[in-house]
């Protein structure tokens, strides 16, 4: 299982993140390492760099990790988390430019077939207008 690309879901809302993860699990079961986080360090709406770093650890795969985010702060905090994790792992973590729910399900489905990180990310990116 751990050879497939991992998926991390980062939403401002823990409910959105968890619900998205439920939809991913329904599609791919346990074939893909999956983790989610949502909420600021006090549990309100927002995102937490520390929680994102933990989620990346949890979903870590040697094949890499694709992150799906909702709004700007989730992206900025995810970029910060990747930077703080540092190389060599940072080079194998990519934030997808895609809608969070559709992107997570599509990326995970691609990942469950053993696709490489770049193909998983490309699948999610196809959902966004160029």
């Amino acid at each position: 299982m751990k050879s497939n690309v991992g998926i991390v879901i980062v939403s401002h809302s823990p409910k959105v993140a968890e619900g998205t993860a439920d939809m991913v699990r329904q599609m791919v079961g346990d074939e893909v390492p999956l983790a989610w986080c949502g909420g600021n360090p006090e549990g309100g709406l927002g995102t937490s760099v520390e929680a994102i770093m933990n989620a990346i650890d949890q979903a870590w795969s040697e094949a890499g990790v694709a992150i799906l985010v909702d709004l700007g702060g989730a992206e900025t905090n995810s970029e910060m988390a990747i930077e703080m994790i540092g190389e060599p792992r940072a080079g194998r973590i990519v934030i997808c430019n895609a809608p969070i729910v559709e992107g997570a399900v599509m990326a995970a489905t691609e990942a469950s077939g053993g696709a490489a990180l770049k193909d998983v990310v490309a699948t999610a990116h196809e959902l966004s207008p160029a």
């Binding site: 927002g46 905090n77 970029e79 910060m80």
Partner: protein, 200 residues
């Protein structure tokens, strides 16, 4: 030049952010998600709790610790943005900086913030305050003059249309409100200048 006494500066900034948290939140409610005041207060309260430990560190290490604390506790995009500002200052500044070193380091920090936010001046962000403040510092201006520049710069974001962040979703409706991040940056500049008194 003697080493910077960091503790009063940390307390001054944390007190100012806490005192203005409601105002920052109100500004953010007008054009964003309304969490800027609370987020900044959470971040700087966490920094304040470490004030004694920070004061015992060399300046570059203390600034990096402040940056890391903000990144970890703020919980919005302001965390990485203000965090990157302090992290870069810590990376660039010598232990006992003079004014020129401070201006140079702030220049680098400003670029790092621009890269982090994928933004530039004129887009209704904290950069619209940071950039003129850095220019004023580099031009040899002192405390009260720099504070005036920062306040005017924050005001100048009011007629701007937001291009970055949540406020950009409002398009033209973001015009007519001061940017919360620009305001908090100006408040921090004022707190630092006041706490440094004649040395600013």
């Amino acid at each position: 030049m003697t080493a910077v006494d960091l503790k009063p500066l940390v307390l001054a900034v944390a007190d100012t952010v806490a005192a203005h948290a409601d105002e920052l939140t109100a500004l953010d409610q007008a054009i964003g998600d309304g969490d800027h005041g609370l987020n900044m207060k959470r971040g700087f309260d966490a920094v304040r709790a470490e004030a004694d430990a920070l004061a015992g560190k060399p300046l570059p290490d203390a600034l990096k610790a402040i940056g890391t604390r903000l990144v970890m506790t703020v919980g919005g995009a302001s965390g990485p943005l203000f965090g990157t500002l302090f992290l870069t200052l810590g990376k660039e500044l010598p232990a006992n900086p003079d004014r020129a070193a401070l201006a140079a380091a702030l220049g680098k920090a400003m670029e790092a913030v621009a890269a982090r936010g994928k933004s530039q001046t004129g887009q209704k962000t904290m950069l619209d305050v940071l950039v003129p403040v850095q220019l004023a510092l580099a031009a040899g201006k002192h405390g009260a003059e720099i504070v005036a520049v920062a306040d005017a710069a924050a005001q100048s974001t009011t007629p701007m249309q937001a291009i970055r962040g949540r406020a950009s979703f409002l398009g033209e409706r973001s015009v007519g409100h001061m940017d919360p991040g620009a305001r908090s940056t100006a408040l921090i500049v004022r707190a630092l200048a006041d706490a440094m008194g004649g040395r600013a």
